[in-house]
Symmetry: C2
Subunit: 327 residues, 2 copies
């Protein structure tokens, strides 16, 4: 399934060998760089399995699955610029390999390829509208995340974090694949997809935040504790700050407000250790597992009552894999 | 006509006053910033008039015209980041007013709004495909422009410049409005639209390059000679370099290869004067007027033979205005 999505996607990107001039061969390489780095393609697989559960043949869902992965790729390119991230899937980020201008432009080109792929497949309008919606939702969440860092805001509650993550990550990671799977099969998405998908998508992001602090560097592919360097607001950090003695809170905030390149590695190591030893990481992991359990419980009866219940069970396994992962 | 497009566009952007939290009011302001700065909306007007010439009522073409202006706005936001531009329509660029991360993300959001507007209007697939095509074409041209600057290349011919500009600017400025005008009216675009539109669109860009050097600062809205500071390859510059004595060529190339912030203002003033006094600017203006004349000659019989020849003449006037302008 994953291989079929990857192949479909890569075949729709420009081929460096067919480029009429060397600069355009480079352009093709920029567009192919992130998609060729691999990745689990969990969102595309989720869409494909959901469509199958609703009775659609895989070839009908393949273009939408590839388009969702194209979305993921151009968003990562732009996010990596916005966050000044250094590593992605075990290699330097695209703007570090080339430059910010070339990477930004390549992201825009992949955004257009996403639409081209969807239009070639002649999907009905609700499928296309769901894509416009997921892009806008993600951008709104990303704005919250970035605005909090720039305004040096730490007066944020867990509910603020959840609101940001629902829009920035949960919607496109879990809600959109479920809805799109139904829509490409010509079905109306079940009303449970949105609330349960948001729970599972938030759980996915919290686990991502946990892995950023505790992941195995060989498997993780990004900089360990990069979120601390970038000053990201996570549930872990907000939990720690809420419970920390005033002196520790002040020390942590001073560090988080320092520009990434100027942060003292010893201070980063201190905060990293505090997040783990005060139970903030354990708390976040527990919240993630509770949300995932609730989401799966809500979806199990729905997905196993669809035309193809075996594919429905594959959807549930993929949703579980969002949370039970090491990278 | 212009006012109708602007109103339609602004009504489809988020309203800061309706935002559920202050950060999202800021998000709405970012999205509205460039569209609210005004501008001539020539591309939207061209699309609208072309649709009318083909017999479509204005309300049928209005969403596509607004979408084309949305394209122009998000592309300008991203271009201004890529070029490190300082001014846009008489005010600081969006990334200077806010930050690169917030401006980049706002550009992505406007790109999604563009598609939302098109989908709401329920246009047939060829209209949507033309939009995907114009985004990809522009990105390819932008890559050429940026790649030449980064590789410090000056071994470029006028034909290289024309190839870049056809993709980066001419296609979306003149070809796409003509084609989209026909498509929203349910017609097949006339085969003359592409070659003649490319001529007129290239003429538009050459005049833009000329205005960048000779424009009236009060009307122009961008930094005068900003192209020189950014090291842009223009027809004017390539013509000057091809004819310059070796010492002048070396002096100019050394300056152009210097990063924008480090360029000596006295050297910039020297090059600026040389471009004007060696006839390179006059040459480029002459090429622009020849291309515009040829394009208009090819389009006149086509546009005045359409169902509404008076609207066809408006299209010709708007195309002339692309070249006969002061800002």
């Amino acid at each position: 399934m994953r291989e079929a999505i990857r192949r479909y996607l890569l075949e729709r990107l420009p081929d460096p060998k067919a480029a009429p001039r060397p600069e355009l061969a480079q352009y093709a390489q920029l567009l192919r760089d992130y998609p060729e780095r691999g990745g689990k393609l969990l969102r595309g697989q989720l869409l494909l399995a959901t469509a199958q559960a609703h009775g659609a043949p895989p070839e009908r869902a393949l273009p939408a699955a590839a388009a969702l992965e194209l979305f993921q790729n151009w968003v990562l390119i732009h996010d990596d610029i916005e966050d000044a991230s250094e590593m992605r899937r075990g290699r330097p980020t695209l703007h570090r390999l080339y430059s910010v201008p070339l990477a930004l432009n390549a992201g825009d080109a992949l955004h257009a390829v996403m639409w081209r792929v969807l239009l070639e497949a002649a999907y009905p309008t609700p499928v296309l509208q769901e894509f416009a919606r997921l892009v806008e939702t993600t951008a709104r969440g990303q704005h919250l995340d970035l605005a909090w860092i720039e305004a040096e805001r730490f007066d944020l509650s867990p509910e603020d974090y959840l609101e940001m993550v629902r829009q920035k990550a949960a919607y496109y990671t879990a809600v959109a694949p479920l809805k799109l799977g139904a829509l490409v099969a010509g079905h109306t998405p079940h009303p449970a997809f949105e609330p349960a998908g948001l729970q599972l998508g938030v759980a996915f992001q919290i686990i991502d935040d946990v892995l950023n602090l505790e992941g195995n560097p060989d498997k993780y592919g990004k900089e360990i504790a990069g979120d601390l360097r970038e000053g990201k607001r996570t549930l872990i950090l907000l939990r720690f700050l809420a419970a920390a003695p005033p002196a520790e809170r002040a020390r942590a905030e001073a560090l988080l407000k320092t520009p990434p390149a100027e942060k003292d590695p010893a201070e980063l190591a201190w905060l990293h250790a505090r997040l783990r030893h005060t139970g903030a990481v354990a708390y976040a992991r527990e919240v993630a597992h509770r949300l995932a359990r609730e989401g799966l419980e809500a979806l199990t009866p729905v997905l196993t009552a669809l035309p193809d219940p075996e594919a429905g069970r594959t959807v549930l396994e993929l949703l579980e894999a969002l949370v039970e992962r090491e990278a």
